[in-house]
């Protein structure tokens, strides 16, 4: 049923359609609307015997789910940013134990300086923890990916993060088609665990493994995890059949026919990129884009297949590996190694900085004219940077950098959006 609904509410309802049995969460913006709604629905009796635990930290939230999942329950949580890093040890543990927990990441920047707005620093920091990472472009896709996520997680015995841009998606009201319970039930069978804590058949879970077998255990985990690359398109296909719409998948091309330039990105910015591409195409520029829908495991082969015909790739990413540059672009380079295709890294949208269509169009023009620095920071305020660098050079006790930058930005009167 089509509903004009906030992204967070859509995700909450989608999760409920998946019949979770244990939910534990800790509040953090911009995830709060999701878990508030879930707690209400559980308390109201809309989610069967589902238990909702108000816990004392994100570390506890995921730990509760580790216990619940190992006891055979379908489990869910949501977090972001500081919360995701606070639970980091448990994030790795859940993956190592092969527990099919589903977690929404309402993507948000990581402090300091503390910032509640959107970028991908949080989920990127834990990209190699052994969770499948799916990135939603729209609220419809966010809702749909949760239904796919439970199926993927349980078929793979592997936890899944569904990443959606904080505020941009979580707080946006859009028309979302919420599927019928019967269709979801047909798509997602009840959870049947491969390992379970059961007094009738006692097993030890999570014991110690020494150097003699650790490599083999990790190899098998890697092997198992890579199965996701085959399963994700399969599940997306089954989903399309069941629900009559395309959602998910490894990577999706847009106007890549005859494209010589490809813009690669993740998440909601794809919407703006598509619009920029439409306009650039009208100007006769052969540009397309590729959305990475599944970032981990990384769809190396599929991405290479989609990009190998182009002459230039621009990776737009909402993260920064300090002292290194782009995170996604390093992986894209890996996928395209051996091919003579220049690959630009464009760092954009950090801490909620909006990414306007005009900047994206300019970026493509600059790339064609070889005017992009490496890495390139989209819409960087150069005056502020130069002034602050000079001030710090002249003054030993220069004080907190963040404060000075804000002062400078206000003084110059540049709009920071």
């Amino acid at each position: 049923m089509l509903a004009q609904i906030e992204g967070s509410q859509a995700v909450a309802e989608s999760v409920v359609l998946c019949r979770p049995e244990v939910i534990a969460a800790y509040p953090i913006s911009p995830q709060t609307h999701i878990v508030e709604r879930l707690s209400r629905m559980v308390k109201h009796g809309d989610v069967g015997r589902c238990q909702y635990l108000n816990v004392e930290s994100e570390f506890a939230a995921l730990s509760v789910l580790i216990g619940a999942s190992a006891t055979g329950a379908r489990t869910y949580t949501a977090t972001t940013s500081q919360g995701l890093l606070f639970m980091a040890e448990a994030v790795y543990n859940a993956a190592g134990l092969g527990l099919p927990i589903v977690m929404t990441i309402a993507n948000r920047a990581v402090g300091a300086p503390i910032n509640i707005w959107n970028d991908h620093s949080d989920s990127m920091a834990l990209r190699d923890a052994g969770w499948v990472q799916l990135y939603a472009e729209t609220n419809q896709e966010a809702a749909d990916l949760h239904i796919q996520a439970f199926r993927l997680a349980e078929e793979l015995s592997c936890p899944v993060m569904v990443c959606m841009d904080g505020y941009i998606l979580t707080h946006a009201y859009e028309a979302v088609d919420m599927p019928a319970q019967s269709l979801v039930d047909a798509f997602l069978p009840p959870y049947s665990p491969v390992q379970v804590l059961d007094p009738k058949a006692p097993i030890s879970i999570g014991a110690m493994v020494g150097p003699e077998a650790f490599t083999e255990v990790k190899y098998l985990a890697h092997h198992q995890y890579l199965r996701a690359l085959a399963l994700i398109p399969e599940v997306a296909g089954a989903f399309a059949q069941q629900f009559q719409r395309l959602s998910g998948g490894l990577c999706s091309p847009y106007r890549m026919e005859g494209a010589s330039i490809a813009v690669v990105a993740l998440g909601s910015v794809i919407g703006t990129i598509k619009e920029a591409i439409d306009e650039l195409r009208l100007d006769g520029i052969a540009v397309g884009c590729v959305k990475i829908g599944c970032y981990r495991p990384f769809p190396m082969v599929q991405l290479r297949g989609t990009l190998e015909g182009v002459t230039r790739v621009i990776v737009v990413e909402k993260d920064l590996a300090v002292g290194m540059g782009g995170i996604v672009s390093a992986d894209v380079r890996m996928a395209l190694q051996g091919l003579p295709i220049p690959i630009h890294t464009v760092i954009a949208g950090l801490g909620g900085r909006s990414i306007p269509k005009s900047s994206l169009k300019q970026m493509v023009q600059d790339a064609r004219a070889e005017r992009l620095s490496e890495p390139h920071f989209l819409d960087l305020n150069r005056t502020v940077i130069d002034n602050e660098l000079m001030r710090r050079r002249d003054q030993r006790q220069a004080g907190p950098m963040a404060e000075q930058v804000i002062r400078a930005v206000n003084a110059i009167g540049t709009k920071v959006v």
């Binding site: 049995e21 004392e56 509760v64 580790i66 006891t71 543990n93 059961d198 110690m208």
Partner: protein, 329 residues
């Protein structure tokens, strides 16, 4: 009469066998049908108080749960010595996640059982003093505060033993550990530090809190049994000497534990909803000195020169416990 080693199972401080007791009052360990939840063959040190305490506690919990029990374990000696794959000494469903989350993992197990309508299966969580009073403290407090249906067992050997004897928030004043060495102005652990977790647990108002010791295994079993009869969050703090960390004779584990109780340093009591309802009076009081002397970790107190002030300070702690809990019979 010459001293004779008695092999009967202990039932109390001064009773050596079960045969004098009626059937129901006998220890779980003495029964043919005990479950050996923590089976033999594990890799604990000789004389390990933690292994002994866990064996008694978990078997008693199993009996109370009619063999339907799930255990969650924090990282630490008990976890490591019992479970290097492919060997596991656990004959019950058992799970280890990380060091600081055992209470939360157990809350999750309990929640899943509730969601599945499996009220017949019971949950315990267990960890060392470090896992309990320090790194897992937040999760433990959360589990208490939500009154989740879990019995938490803390095996208190008064330091981080698994990592090689470092100070925890449960390390007693003046004790030497590898991070509170017997050097400097105040050798050993600083006095007036550390925390009393049973009291903190009581402050949560949970239905059951008790202390127990491997010196009195019958009492330990009885407390586990009583705790298992209660719904909600329950806490049992068990004193378990560690010969390696304490520098005591492995053959003296029970003796050392008993002296901790009889000196008043480790008071045995039970509390319900935040109020002490019972305590074990001291029958043969000993001085703290007699207890300290058995352990190398306090050796620096005995000099030369002898640290009379420190010994007096420890005696004062024991005396205060005796007064607080009314331990003089």
């Amino acid at each position: 009469m010459p001293e004779q080693r008695i092999k009967f199972y202990q039932t109390g401080t001064y009773t050596a066998g079960n045969r004098l007791l009626n059937e129901e009052a006998r220890t779980v360990q003495s029964r043919m049908d005990r479950t050996n939840s923590l089976n033999s063959g594990h890799r604990a040190c000789q004389g390990c108080g933690e292994a002994l305490g866990a064996r008694y506690a978990v078997d008693a919990a199993m009996r109370a749960a009619h063999d339907r029990l799930i255990a969650v374990n924090a990282t630490g000696c008990l976890e490591v010595f019992s479970s290097p794959y492919p060997e596991s000494a656990w004959q019950i469903p058992w799970m280890h996640s990380v060091f600081g989350n055992a209470p939360a993992v157990a809350s999750g197990v309990a929640a899943a059982l509730r969601a599945k309508g499996r009220e017949d299966v019971k949950v315990i969580a267990q960890g060392g003093d470090g896992a309990t009073v320090d790194i897992g403290f937040g999760c433990l407090s959360g589990m208490f505060e939500r009154n989740d249906d879990v019995l938490y067992l803390c095996y208190d050997n008064e330091a981080y033993m698994n990592t090689g004897i470092q100070r925890s928030g449960a390390t007693p004043p003046f004790a030497r550990t590898n991070t509170t060495q017997a050097v400097g102005e105040t050798p050993g652990n600083l006095p007036s530090t550390g925390k009393n977790l049973p009291r903190i647990a009581m402050a949560h108002g949970i239905p059951y809190v008790a202390t127990a010791s491997v010196a009195d295994l019958h009492d330990l079993e009885a407390k586990v049994t009583r705790a298992m009869a209660v719904q909600g969050a329950r806490y049992l703090h068990i004193h378990v000497p560690c010969p390696l960390g304490w520098g005591s004779d492995p053959a003296h584990t029970i003796k050392v534990a008993r002296m901790a109780v009889e000196s008043g340093l480790f008071p045995l009591f039970e509390a319900q909803f935040g109020t002490v309802v019972d305590r074990m009076p001291i029958r043969h009081k000993v001085s703290v000195e007699q207890y300290l002397e058995l352990q190398d970790r306090f050796k620096h107190l005995f000099g030369p020169p002898r640290n009379t002030d420190a010994i007096a300070a420890i005696q004062a702690i024991a005396d205060a416990n005796i007064a607080t809990y009314g331990l003089t019979a």
